[in-house]
Each structure stands twice: as C-alpha cells, then as structure tokens.
Assembly symmetry: C2
C-alpha cells in the first residue's frame, strides 16, 4: 500500500490495454451480428461462411483477454474496486464470446434456409431484431468504457423491446406453420435464429449490469442474494 | 522461485479448496438436469419451480468460485501449468453455470407444456437425452478431478450420440407438426428444450477439452490457431 500511486497507475495502464482488446473484440462481434443477419436475408452463402470463419478470431481474442487479465491479477494483486474492474473484463469477454457464437450459429443456418422458399418477411424481421441487438451491444461497450450507468439502464430497458419483437415473431411462425405445413421446417430454423438474437440481447443486458455494478457497486437485480456482491470486499 | 516448494503446496491447497467448490456446483447442476427432465415428463410444476429457484444458488457459487480463483492468482502469482489450472477452474465454472441455465430454461417450459396435450413420447425422449447429458457431466467432473484424459476422450465421443438423439428428435417434431397442426405449439417448445439439452452436451465436451488441455497441454481441436495455447507459457 506504500506505493499506492505507483501501483495504481501501472494497474490503470494494464487495465486500459486489456479494455482496448475488449473494444476490438466488441467490434468484431458487432460485425458478426450485422453480417450474419445480412447473409440470411440476402441468402449470401460466401458471406455466411465469412462470419463462421471470423468466429475463430473472436474466440482467440477471448482467450488472450482472459490470460492477460489473469496476468494483471498475478502481477498487481488488485483488491476491492480494482479487482472488481479486472474481473468485469473477464465477464464481458465471456458475454462477447457468447454473442459471437450466436452470430455464428445464425450464419450456419443460412445455407439450409437458402434452399427453402422464403417465409414472408421473416428474414427482414430477424434483420431488424439483429440491428437492435447490434445497437445494444455498441451502447453496452460505450457504457462500459465510459462507466455510464444511465446508458446502461437504457440498454436494460431496450432488452424488453427485443423480447417483444421475439415474442411477436414466435406467434407469427406458429401462424405460418399452421397455415401451410410446407413452412414448418423453415420456421423451425427461423425460430431458432430469432431466439439466438433474443439471447444476444440478454448478454448485452448482462454487460450493462456489469457496468451498473462497476459504477454503483450494486447489481441492478435486487433479487440476487447479497453474498456474491459483498464478498468482493477485501477480507481481513 | 526460491520458495518453490512452499509456494507450490500453498497453491495446491488453494486449488483443492476451489476445486471442491467446483464439485459442489457440479452436483447442483447434475440435480438440476435430472429434476428439470423429471418435472417435464411428470408435469410436476412445483418441482419445476424448485429447479428454477435452485439456479440462483448455482449462480452464486459461480461468482464465489471466480472471485476465489482471482484471489488465488493475486496471492500466489502462478505461472505456466499452475496458471493454466487456475484458469481452467474459471472456465469450468462458466460451463457449469451455462448448463444450469439450460436446465432452468427447460423447467420454465414445464408450466407451458403442462397445459397442452402430450406429443407422443417426446418428454420421455428428452428425459433420455437429459440422462445422457447428466452422465456426461458427472464423468466430465470425474475426469477433471482425476485429470483423466482417457475419460475426457470418451466424453467427447459420447457428445456425437447426444447430437444424433437431438437430430432424430428434430425430425420427429417436424413429422408430428405436419401430421397435426395442433401439435405445432407444443413441438416448438419441445424442440427448444431438446436443443438446450444438446447444448448441455457441448458444454460437457468443452469441460472434457479443458481436461485434455490440462493433461497434455494441447487442445483436442487441432484446427484452432496455436496462438491461444502457447501464449500460456510464461513470457520472458
């Protein structure tokens, strides 16, 4: 503790470096969401293949970020707020990796769906859902870097909109399937994709909750037991 | 490095303590899988509610394990193999948390499906899938504790069986829906659940891959770029 200022600034530089990697990873994931939705709508298989291939780079970045964060913890032995910040790096890289996976899974279905007749404007509706998810992600990354609790609260609110879009689409798929059984297989795949986009929103919400936690020290979800929050305080 | 033996044994004690928590978490997740499948098959809503409630305990354990692992890294500054072992604790707790989430999501659908006519033996088929996933999980935890690469390889092979069960069930759902449109809504939910169980298997595979990595130092998936593996070696 004698070298508090020196240690703090070295820690801050380390944290900034690993946060820069988070932003790079976030940019790749934003691209993956947008291009996966585009490949689905335009039935562009080479583009879908590009999205699937790009997921490897996202996974590699996650591994690098986690190792870098572990090295920072080992080197700087941060406590309290600093430890909370470096652990949030690991959490957020995990969220980004999962969103990237969903985009990859979406792109995987492009080739299957390209061989089936289109189901109304379903892929357009999914693209609109994906655009909302992409904006939520962009804002979640901004909120994270700027430690902006207001923006984080806004993202959490927007997730309900995405859920409603998903629910509306789910009911539409049921209708299309009942109207014409030839739609069933395509709708099963489309439903799967819509659910994946809805889950992207859940991960953006989880990122926003991390931001709230960093800024206020409290999780937005008050229903959670306090044990896992207070235990971040240094013991003894 | 002068105190290598002293440091190593203190680290080993810390690692053992956090691994014991992993086993406790694993036990809760095994229960969640089994009881979620049972609640679905027997239409037991109170049991489903119990599974949903138990997920909070799993989430709390994950947070505790990750914080404990971070403290061990901060305190012991492990490198090379030790760092790899402590990072695997975080990876595996993440896999367990996700499997627990899938079980919770499964239990959430019990109340919806209880209000619909049963679709053949679908919930029985899902219970059989869930039993396979539960056995994979149990073995993945054993393989992890015993650092058993052979058992890990066996788990990875069994995941194909689970994938095949899912694919067969997917085709069955398509048939049921085409035969009778009144099955469509229930089949949409059942498909969702089957997919979640299939994903549990993916996470057991990921755990088994972590074991292989701990034992051999190489990821089973040779297609992955080497960068994220070799970077675990201490630099300088």
């Amino acid at each position: 503790m004698e070298e508090q200022n020196h240690i703090a600034s070295a820690f801050d530089r380390d944290l900034e470096a690993v946060q820069a990697q988070i932003m790079k990873m976030g940019g790749l994931v934003e691209d993956a969401i947008r291009l996966a939705a585009k490949s689905l709508e335009t039935r562009d298989e080479p583009l879908a293949e590009q999205v699937r291939a790009a997921d490897t780079a996202i996974d590699v970045l996650e591994a690098e970020i986690n190792e870098k964060a572990a090295r920072i913890i080992a080197l700087r032995a941060p406590t309290a707020v600093d430890l909370r910040m470096i652990l949030s790096v690991m959490k957020i890289s995990g969220n980004l990796e999962r969103i990237g996976d969903y985009a990859k899974n979406m792109a995987k279905r492009t080739s299957v769906l390209s061989q089936m007749p289109p189901v109304n404007d379903s892929t357009g509706a999914i693209r609109r859902m994906a655009r909302l998810a992409e904006e939520m992600l962009k804002d979640a990354l901004d909120a994270y870097i700027r430690r902006d609790a207001d923006l984080a609260a806004d993202i959490i609110a927007r997730d309900e909109e995405l859920d409603q879009m998903y629910n509306a689409l789910f009911r539409e798929f049921l209708t299309f399937m009942m109207e014409d059984p030839r739609n069933i297989t395509a709708c099963m795949h489309l439903h799967f994709i819509a659910k994946n986009v809805e889950r992207m929103g859940d991960h953006c919400t989880s990122m926003a909750e991390q931001v709230t936690y960093l800024v206020t020290g409290a999780h937005p979800d008050e229903a959670r037991p306090k044990a896992d929050q207070t235990s971040l305080n240094p013991r003894g």
